[in-house]
Subunit: 332 residues, 2 copies
């Protein structure tokens, strides 16, 4: 491997000049420039990112911290992050935390030793202490859905409350008359907002009851359990709005097993818009978050922060959209 000194020697100039040429910082005569170009070509010289990292404190690497890459939502997100990052010349490291604060903290520890340029947090366990180490070294970070408690940071999320209201409204419009809700874990602000949206929308109805709400953990199995429980408690419900798609799919499964026709008899609506919603039978109505856009946006914000174009920290709320499909189509 050729080094910058080899190039300098061959081009007959000093290393400083090469460095200036490479970084387009400072003056370089156009003739000299040609010589340097030739030398670089000849030696197939490629600057070492590591040496640059050591000298200049930039590694062009960002870390993506998420609960589980094999979760459909996050793999879609990761795709967007990597796409954007690579167009800006950054590479992406990913870390699975399983929503365990300990793992997350551990990753932060390991990665800050690596001079990572910035972090994207898509997990829900971030605390103030976690970010302290980042602040100390002024490593920029951005968050999905929610930032660390009591602290301002750039956050991208979607309109969860509004989306939940859209879901309920849609179900009502389709002629369903008693709507239950399976909500996610309440430490998640996302789940909270969606629950709030549901509650605000249905509180006024005569059939409203707190027992129409049942908790899940955002995974399919919990959706099944919750749906069973709800149907046992209220055999007359004719629609279920789930806090995310996976739980909605669980509900779908349960209804199917009970011989209940989804759509016609009981409507089901999810939230997230993961690709799998098109695979179910019937296809699942859902409130789609612009997952790809969210990932792309949060990455662009992070890179801006890294490169110093001052962006004020703020919360970006993206629009959600109703994907009306067969699982909420009630033939009359």
């Amino acid at each position: 491997m050729a080094t910058i000194r080899d190039v300098a020697k061959l081009a007959g100039v000093s290393v400083s000049t090469i460095s200036r040429y490479l970084n387009k910082s400072g003056y370089v005569n156009s003739e000299t420039e040609q010589n340097i170009k030739a030398a670089i070509d000849k030696l197939k010289y490629e600057p070492s990112v590591v040496a640059r990292g050591l000298a200049g404190k930039q590694t062009n690497t960002i870390a993506l911290i998420l609960p589980d890459i094999s979760n459909l939502f996050f793999s879609d997100l990761a795709r967007a992050v990597e796409d954007v990052a690579s167009t800006y010349g950054y590479t992406v490291i990913f870390c699975n935390t399983d929503d365990q604060g300990g793992k997350e903290r551990n990753y932060i520890e390991v990665l800050k030793k690596k001079y990572i340029d910035g972090f994207i947090f898509a997990s829900n366990t971030l605390t103030h202490e976690d970010t302290e180490a980042l602040h100390k070294r002024s490593i920029p970070y951005v968050c999905l859905d929610r930032g660390p408690s009591d602290e301002l940071s750039s956050v991208v999320r979607s309109k969860n409350l509004e989306g939940a209201k859209m879901a309920v409204l849609h179900l009502l419009e389709m002629g369903y008359t008693k709507i239950a809700h399976i909500h996610g874990p309440q430490h998640s602000i996302t789940a909270k907002d969606r629950l709030a949206g549901y509650e605000e929308s249905v509180r006024g109805f005569a059939w409203y009851s707190p027992t129409l709400m049942e908790a899940g953990d955002f995974r399919m199995a919990s959706g099944m359990k919750a749906a069973e429980e709800l149907l046992r408690r209220h055999p007359d419900i004719d629609a279920i709005f789930a806090g995310n798609d996976l739980m909605a799919i669980g509900a779908l499964k349960v209804l199917h097993r009970m011989g209940i026709k989804v759509g016609e008899q009981v409507g089901v609506c999810g939230f997230d818009g993961i690709q799998t919603t098109e695979i179910t039978e019937p296809e699942l109505t859902t409130i789609a978050q612009p997952i790809y856009d969210m990932g792309a946006l949060i990455t662009r914000i992070l890179i801006k922060k890294i490169e110093g174009s001052l962006v004020e920290d703020q919360i970006y709320e993206l629009d959600v959209s109703l994907m009306a499909r067969a699982s909420t189509y009630r033939r009359r």
Copy 2:
């Protein structure tokens, strides 16, 4: 940030001694050791991975090159890779190639400048030229499914041919009598092997015909198209074996739309064992690859190669298993 020299000063020894202590290379008096420990604690010293990388040519980072992280199969795989890598102290960079050789080559170029310790290739486009650059710098790499053409390398794959035979056998045992096949793109050795397994198993039957095979591209939409075509051509087929789960799900969808009862009238079997197969209705019978194990194994092999415990390059073929489910259950 404290540096190694700060620690040396505080502990009253030289940097060499600190380095020896940190790497457990060479002698360090046990008393000195205590002092060093204390100094490190006090200064909260953490060695810089970047400086280490520059000096010692090790970054503890591996790259995972795959077609698309948002593809269910690869996100499961990525999870396994990261799990194993992190227990060995490595971080994982991932890159989406969309099966385009150009993107792949580009990533190799970028990453080798970063002193990546090793590569895992899970894409199908790897050529001899691609790996040349890696050879030159003796950067180890391993492959999933297939290595670069005409070259030995460590490869982990599953028993595709055998699995295809299992699928056909299972369908026959369940009482299906005319089995079609949707195969993947033939540049993929995986798809080829599965097709071969199918053909070998059915060639002896009277109903066998080359027109019972139709091509797809491993994605759902192509499975739908292929299924339609097959049913048009042979309205009497009563089973479809697809070269992967996503195409099988496509077939499922088509059959459903045509009002054909999957399982009872027409059996469908996939291949891969992605989680989504449990979400479909009916649940999809599939030949499950041990995706997680494959990812874990390939990562362990790579790390062994990186750390120099000479492993001979070889091909590891893992067992597949039949997951018999409702999509191939024929009530009689």
